[in-house]
Structures are given as structure tokens and as C-alpha cells.
């Protein structure tokens, strides 16, 4: 069974600073995809970034980047130049290539402060 673990229930960062959110996963699949979703107070789930397991290059989307360590089954999210609008719950998620089920971690609540 696939599992996703987020070991940081809450984190805080000052505006303009950099923060890294941790995620580890467990799977026996070789073809899979990893995602970070953001859930602001409105509670809509918004895709932040995605990573294909077969790609060695780490994905980047503007201020958001990942550190994907396939052998260690680690998928951390780095937010650079943090903004107040980044305050949200962040969920790490995993899906195997042929599966329908998206497996979520328990989330990390990020607070960006002045």
C-alpha cells in the first residue's frame, strides 16, 4: 500500500524568507507522480507543483521548487521569498501510474508572518 507522510504539522516563516516542507512516501511502484497542493482558508485545493518519478530534474514553478530524492523516497517543497498569500495548508500527494487513487499526506499548516 502507498503511504505519504508529512512530519511537520505546523510551520512558520517570515515574509521574504525561505521555508522547506518535508514529505516522504512509500511505494513499490516504479512509475508514479508526486504533487504538492495548497489549501488556503477558502479550502479549495490548488495544485502548486508536480513531479514525474521518471524525471531526474527537480520541478520548479516560480517561487516553488521541489527536492525529489527517489532513492530516499523524499519529496520536499521549498518556497522562496515567502508571501503572506502563501499562508495555507500544504498537502503532499502521490499517485501510481495506473491507479486512480490519489493518496494524501496529513498536511502541513504554514503561517507566513510579517
Amino acid at each position: 500500500a502507498q503511504t505519504v507522510t508529512q512530519s511537520q504539522p505546523e510551520m512558520s516563516v517570515q515574509e521574504a524568507e525561505t521555508v522547506t516542507l518535508s514529505c516522504t512516501y512509500d511505494t513499490s511502484e516504479n512509475n508514479y507522480y508526486l504533487f504538492w497542493y495548497k489549501q488556503p482558508p477558502s479550502r479549495q485545493m490548488i495544485l502548486v507543483i508536480r513531479q514525474e518519478a521518471y524525471k531526474q530534474q527537480n520541478a520548479t514553478e516560480n517561487r516553488f521548487s521541489v527536492n525529489f530524492q527517489k532513492a530516499a523516497k523524499s519529496f520536499s517543497l521549498k518556497i522562496s521569498d515567502s508571501q503572506l498569500g502563501d499562508t495555507a495548508m500544504y498537502f503532499c500527494a502521490f499517485i501510481a501510474g495506473t491507479a486512480s487513487k490519489l493518496t494524501f499526506g496529513t498536511g502541513t499548516r504554514l503561517q507566513v508572518t510579517l
Binding site: Y33, S42, M45, I95, G97, S100, L102, T106
Partner: protein
């Protein structure tokens, strides 16, 4: 571009009453559709998914059911709501071969009293 709608946005229902939540997707054909539930302060739990009209797979046995009467319409129902059905319900879509990403709707906040 693709958009996903959920209706209603907020719902307060008494215990034992019926439920119908609707999800519609625009701008794509033959999507995979998903219903998730999120209890307060917790992660997402997959309830149902559908790969086509009339095809429903259930992940968690409970008093909820789902139907897909049209290609881009997904409905979550219950004949009699329980207190434990309270939560935030999210619909998502995905098109195999186009993207492996699931995109979520705005959600429905359901309170059962």
C-alpha cells in the same frame, strides 16, 4: 480551458434528510471524476471515482452513493444523512493520457445537525 463547478457551496441539513451534491466539468471530454471528503483539520479521503458514464467505484462503504448520468456530471447522494457525514466535499477531474494531475473544484461545506 477546463473548469469545474460544485453546487451548492454550503449546505446545512438535519439528520435523516436526503442529500444531493452536484459536480460538473467544462472544457474536457471523458474525464475521470472523483469525490473526496475532508473532515475538519484532516486530510482527504477518496469516496468514489468514475471512469465513465454509469461506472462508479466505491472506496469506502457508507451511506453515501454516487452517480454519473452524463459524461461531465458527477452526483453524490444520500437517502438519510448521519452526523458523521458532516465535512467538506471536493470533486476532482483528471483526463488520462492528457494529464496525471487531479484538479479540484471549490468544494461544498456540509453540516449535518
Amino acid at each position: 480551458s477546463q473548469t469545474i463547478h460544485q453546487w451548492p457551496a454550503t449546505l446545512v441539513q438535519p439528520v435523516g434528510s436526503p442529500l444531493s451534491l452536484e459536480c460538473t466539468v467544462e472544457g474536457t471530454s471523458n474525464p475521470n471524476l472523483y469525490w473526496y471528503r475532508q473532515a475538519a483539520g484532516r486530510g482527504l479521503q477518496l469516496l468514489f471515482y468514475s471512469v465513465g458514464i454509469g461506472q462508479i467505484s466505491s472506496e469506502v462503504p457508507q451511506n453515501l452513493s454516487a452517480s454519473r448520468p452524463q459524461d461531465r456530471q458527477f452526483i453524490l447522494s444520500s437517502k438519510k444523512l448521519l452526523l458523521s457525514d458532516s465535512g467538506f466535499y471536493l470533486c476532482a477531474w483528471r483526463v488520462l493520457g492528457y494529464t496525471d494531475t487531479q484538479y479540484f473544484g471549490p468544494g461544498t461545506r456540509l453540516t449535518v445537525l
